[in-house]
C-alpha cells in the first residue's frame, strides 16, 4: 500500500484522468470551436502527454516532488515553492469541484435540492485527505475498469445516434475558434500537475515514460471519440448540453422500454469523478504534509480544514458558477499552463545539486 505500481499509474493515466474531461469541457469546446472541437482537445492532450513524459522522466531520479525541489533549490526555497504549488492545486481543485456540484444538482435530482445534497461530498473529501496518497494506487485498480465500463457503455448506447458529418467541414471555426478553445481548455488539463506530487510514490521502471505517455494518449483518443459522438448528436445545440456524458446516451432507442439504463454508466463515471474532483485537494494536503512533517492527526485536521474551506466556497459560488467558470477559464487561465506544462519542463531541465553528505 506504500507504493503505487506501474500498472496502477498506467490505469490512472489511461482511464481515470480522461474522466475529468467528459462533463463540462465538451460543451465549452463546442461553444468556442464548434465542429472543430476535436482540435483544441487534441492539442491539449498532446501538450499534456509531453508534460507527462517529462514528469515520468523526473521519476528516474527516484525522489519525491519535495525532495526534487529541495535538491534543486535548497530546503527553504523548496518549502516556499511547494506551498505555492499546493496553492495552485487548491485553485485547480475549484473547477472539478464546482463541476461536480453542478452535476449533482442538475443530473441527479429532478428538483433543485438544498445544499445538503452535495455537502456529503465534503465528508468524503475529509476521509480521502486523511488517507496516504500512495494508497490510491489500489483505488485506481478499481476505478480504471469502472471508468472504462462507464465510457464504453455510454459510447455504445450513443454512437448509433451520432451523425459524424456534423464535424465537417474541418477548420470551419477558423484560427480564432481553435485558439479560444485551446485556451479555455487549459483549466481541465492538469494531469501532469497532478502527477508531480506522486513522484517518489512509484518506482521508475524501464520504458515507463513512453508507456505512461501512450496510455494517456490512448485514454485521450477515447475522449476525442466521445467528443465526436457528442457533437455528432447535438451539432449546434451542443454548447447547451452542459454535462456531455449524461446527455449523449439518452436518445438510445431502448430507453423508452427499459428506462434510463444509461444511468448505470453515468453512475459509474460519477463515482470515478468524485475521486477525481477530490484528488487535487488531497494532493495539496500531501504536498504540505511532506514539506512540513506529518504529525499524528494533522492529515485529518488538514482534510477538515480544506473541506470546510471548499464547502464555504461552494456556498459562496453557488449561484455564480458561470462567472466563476469564466474567470477560471478566462483571466486566470494562464496559471494552468505555467504549472502544468512549464513546471515539469523546468524541473527536468534544471541541473541537480550535488547531494549533501
Amino acid at each position: 500500500m506504500n507504493r503505487i505500481s506501474k500498472r496502477q499509474l498506467l490505469f490512472f493515466l489511461a482511464c481515470v484522468a480522461p474522466v475529468g474531461k467528459l462533463a463540462l469541457l465538451p460543451a465549452r469546446l463546442a461553444d468556442k470551436a464548434g465542429g472543430d472541437l476535436l482540435f483544441p482537445a487534441l492539442l491539449q492532450f498532446l501538450l499534456q502527454a509531453g508534460a507527462i513524459f517529462c514528469v515520468l522522466l523526473l521519476a528516474k531520479r527516484g525522489m519525491s516532488f519535495f525532495e526534487l525541489l529541495k535538491n534543486t533549490f535548497g530546503k527553504v526555497a523548496a518549502c516556499v515553492l511547494i506551498t505555492v504549488y499546493a496553492l495552485f492545486l487548491l485553485f485547480a481543485a475549484l473547477l472539478p469541484l464546482l463541476e461536480q456540484k453542478l452535476l449533482v444538482q442538475t443530473v441527479f435530482y429532478d428538483t433543485l435540492p438544498s445544499l445538503v445534497a452535495f455537502s456529503p461530498f465534503f465528508l468524503f473529501a475529509v476521509y480521502l485527505v486523511s488517507k496516504p496518497l500512495a494508497s490510491f494506487g489500489r483505488m485506481w485498480d478499481i476505478l480504471a475498469p469502472l471508468a472504462a465500463f462507464g465510457l464504453a457503455g455510454i459510447l455504445v448506447l450513443s454512437v448509433g445516434s451520432a451523425d459524424f458529418s456534423a464535424l465537417a467541414p474541418v477548420g470551419a471555426a477558423g484560427g480564432k475558434g481553435f485558439f479560444e478553445g485551446t485556451m479555455s481548455a487549459f483549466a481541465w488539463f492538469c494531469d501532469a500537475a497532478l502527477l508531480l506530487p506522486l513522484l517518489g510514490k512509484f518506482r521508475y521502471e524501464k520504458g515507463l515514460a513512453w508507456k505512461g505517455t501512450l496510455a494517456y494518449l490512448g485514454g485521450g483518443a477515447a475522449v476525442l471519440f466521445f467528443y465526436a459522438v457528442f457533437y455528432g448528436i447535438f451539432r449546434e445545440i451542443a454548447p447547451a448540453q452542459l454535462f456531455a456524458f449524461t446527455a449523449t446516451s439518452k436518445y438510445f432507442s431502448g430507453v423508452s422500454t427499459l428506462g434510463r439504463i444509461d444511468y448505470l454508466f453515468i453512475f459509474a463515471l460519477s463515482l470515478v469523478m468524485s475521486f477525481w474532483a477530490a484528488l487535487p485537494l488531497q494532493e495539496a494536503a500531501d504536498c504540505v504534509l511532506e514539506a512540513y512533517g506529518r504529525p499524528r492527526g494533522l492529515p485529518t485536521l488538514l482534510g477538515v480544514g480544506l473541506s470546510a474551506l471548499y464547502f464555504v466556497l461552494s456556498v459562496v459560488l453557488d449561484f455564480r458558477f458561470t462567472e466563476a467558470l469564466d474567470v477560471i477559464t478566462g483571466e486566470l487561465v494562464w496559471i494552468f499552463p505555467v504549472f502544468c506544462l512549464l513546471v515539469p519542463l523546468l524541473l527536468l531541465l534544471t541541473r541537480r545539486r550535488r547531494r549533501e553528505h
Binding site: F108, Y109, P120, R138, G259, S274
Partner: protein, 477 residues
C-alpha cells in the same frame, strides 16, 4: 510454583484445595504389592470406564518402584504424561483428564481419558453442497483435527495446540502446511493468540476480534468455514487455519473478500458453471444492497430512472400509501428482519406457521389495507433473497443495505454513489496479515484472477495464489 510432594495425602489435600468443587472426586486404591494410589478426576467429564480399564485394573498388579515414569509405563492408556506443578495438574483435571497420585511419587501421572460427547459429523447447515463432500466440523476439536488429518496425509501438516482464555482454557489448534504457509503469518497468528487476555472463549467468533487488524470494523477480516474440505483446500493454498474447541466453525487467515463468493461446489462442477454462479452471487449481492436504495432514491429524487410504464404502475400502487417511500421501505425491511430473526430461532413447525403469517397475513393484508405498496414488498423480497446468495456476508451486507437505504432516503442517488465511494476506499485500504482484503482485484494480481469471480479449469491453476506469498509456489506439475 507449588509442586507435588512424595506424601500422597498432602498432595491430594493441596489439589482438593485448588479444586473444592463437589464434582471433583477422588478414588483411592492399592496395588497388589500394597502401594497406595489415588485418582483425582472431574466426575462429569471423565470417562470412568476407560479410567477403570486403563488405570485401575492395570495398576492392581503393579509391583514396581514409585516413579512416575515407571507407573506411566504400566498403564494401558496411550495418552499419558507426567507433571509436577499442582496448577497444571488442577488444570488437567478440569479439562477431564484424571490425575494419578501415589505414595512416594516424584511426579503425578496425567491420563488422557477425557469423556467426549461428540455429536455426529453431519452436513453443516450454513454450507450445503449438492456435489462434493458433505462432512462438517463439530464442536470437538479432536474430531475436527482428525477430519483435517484424514484429508491431508502429509508430515508437513502442522497442528500446534495452545490454550486461550484465563478461565475457559479453550484449546486452539493452529493448523498449517509447513513450507506452504508463509512463516510470518504463522508467527503473527501465534503472537496474536498469545496476546489475548480474556477470561472465556466460548466460540471461534471471539478470536476473530483479536485476529483482525481493524477489530471494530464492519468488514470481515477472518475467513470462516464449517467444512473440512474447504479448510484443507485453504491450508493447501498457503493459509493458516484455527480450530477452536467447542466451535464447529474453523477460522482461516489471511482472508480475501472474494473467498465468500466461492463455494466448495465450484470446484466440482465445470468451470463455466462455476464462473456463472460466482458472477450470479456478486450480482445478487449488488441487487440485495442497492435495489431498495435505488428504488427509494428514484421515487424521491429521480423518477426518470423508471421506464414510463413501470413508473405508471408504481405511481398507481403508491398513490394511497400514507408513508414516505423511505419510511415505507424501512418498515418493510424491519418486518423482514424481524420475521427472519424469529423464524431462525423458532421450532420448525412454528416456523412454518410464522412463514404463513409473515407472507400471507402481514404481506397481503398490509398491501390491501394500504399500509405498504406491492412494489415495496417485491423490492425487499428480492433484496432478501439476494442477500442469502452469499451467506457468509449476511451480517455485513444487511447493515450496508440499511445504510444505503437511509442515505438514499435522505440524499438520493448521489448519496448512494458517495457511500459506495466511501465503502470502496475503506475496503481497498483494509489489510490483515499483510494481505489486502480486495486482492486480487485491488491490487490486481493477474494470475489470481483465474480463481476469483471467474474460474479457470483446474489445469490452468498451476500456482498457488500469489496474494498469499506462499514459499511453495507450484501447485500443479
Amino acid at each position: 510454583m507449588k509442586t507435588v510432594s512424595g506424601d500422597l495425602e498432602k498432595t491430594k489435600d493441596a489439589l482438593k484445595k485448588l479444586l473444592p468443587a463437589d464434582d471433583i472426586l477422588s478414588f483411592d486404591f492399592r496395588s497388589g504389592s500394597g502401594m497406595r494410589f489415588c485418582v483425582l478426576f472431574a466426575d462429569p467429564i471423565t470417562d470412568k470406564d476407560l479410567l477403570g480399564e486403563q488405570v485401575i485394573r492395570a495398576l492392581k498388579s503393579y509391583a514396581g518402584a514409585p516413579k512416575a515414569e515407571e507407573v506411566s509405563a504400566a498403564l494401558t492408556s496411550p495418552e499419558t504424561k507426567t507433571e509436577k506443578s499442582l496448577d497444571a495438574l488442577a488444570r488437567e483435571v478440569l479439562i477431564g483428564n484424571p490425575v494419578l497420585l501415589f505414595s512416594g511419587m516424584d511426579g503425578a501421572v496425567i491420563v488422557g481419558t477425557k469423556k467426549i460427547f461428540p455429536r455426529a459429523v453431519t452436513e453443516p447447515p450454513t454450507d450445503v453442497a449438492l456435489k462434493g463432500p458433505r462432512e462438517g466440523f463439530i464442536e470437538d476439536f479432536k474430531v475436527n483435527t482428525s477430519l483435517v488429518r484424514r484429508r491431508l496425509k502429509t508430515g508437513e501438516l502442522r497442528m500446534e495446540t495452545t490454550e486461550v482464555g484465563r478461565r475457559s482454557n479453550t484449546v486452539v489448534v493452529v493448523c498449517y502446511l509447513a513450507g506452504t504457509a508463509r512463516q510470518e503469518v504463522v508467527e503473527e497468528v501465534k503472537q496474536k493468540l498469545k496476546d489475548i487476555d480474556i477470561d472465556v472463549i466460548p466460540d471461534s467468533s471471539y478470536l476473530t476480534h483479536f485476529l483482525s487488524s481493524r477489530p471494530y470494523s464492519l468488514v470481515k477480516q477472518v475467513g470462516t468455514t464449517e467444512k473440512p474440505d474447504i479448510f484443507c483446500a485453504k491450508l493447501a493454498e498457503g493459509r493458516v487455519g484455527l480450530i477452536v474447541d467447542g466451535s464447529p466453525i474453523a477460522l482461516t487467515v489471511p482472508y480475501l473478500l472474494v473467498e465468500d463468493f466461492q463455494s466448495s461446489e465450484d470446484y466440482f462442477v465445470p468451470s463455466y458453471r462455476a464462473t456463472f454462479t460466482r458472477l450470479l452471487r456478486l450480482l445478487a449481492l449488488i441487487v440485495a444492497i442497492y435495489l431498495p436504495a435505488f428504488y427509494v432514491a428514484a421515487q424521491l429524487f429521480r423518477l426518470q430512472l423508471f421506464p414510463i410504464k413501470l413508473l405508471l404502475t408504481i405511481a398507481g400502487s403508491i398513490r394511497d400509501i400514507p408513508f414516505s417511500p423511505s419510511l415505507e421501505m424501512l418498515l418493510v425491511l424491519l418486518v423482514l428482519e424481524v420475521l427472519n430473526e424469529a423464524s431462525i430461532r423458532m421450532p420448525k413447525y412454528v416456523g412454518m406457521a410464522l412463514s404463513v403469517v409473515g407472507a400471507l397475513v402481514l404481506g397481503e393484508t398490509a398491501v390491501s389495507a394500504g399500509f405498504v405498496s406491492t412494489p415495496a414488498i417485491i423490492m425487499i423480497a428480492f433484496s432478501g433473497i439476494g442477500l442469502y446468495a452469499v451467506p457468509n456476508l449476511i451480517e455485513q451486507t444487511s447493515v450496508v443495505r440499511l445504510v444505503m437505504l437511509l442515505v438514499a432516503g435522505s440524499v438520493g442517488t448521489y448519496g448512494i454513489i458517495l457511500a459506495t465511494a466511501f465503502m470502496l476506499l475503506y475496503l481497498v485500504t483494509t489489510e490483515n496479515f499483510q494481505t489486502p482484503l480486495l486482492a486480487p482485484f485491488s491490487p490486481v494480481v493477474g494470475k489470481d484472477l483465474r480463481d476469483s469471480l471467474i474460474k479457470y479449469n483446474l489445469g490452468s491453476l498451476k500456482t498457488r495464489p500469489k496474494t498469499l506469498h506462499s514459499p511453495n509456489k507450484r501447485r500443479l506439475a
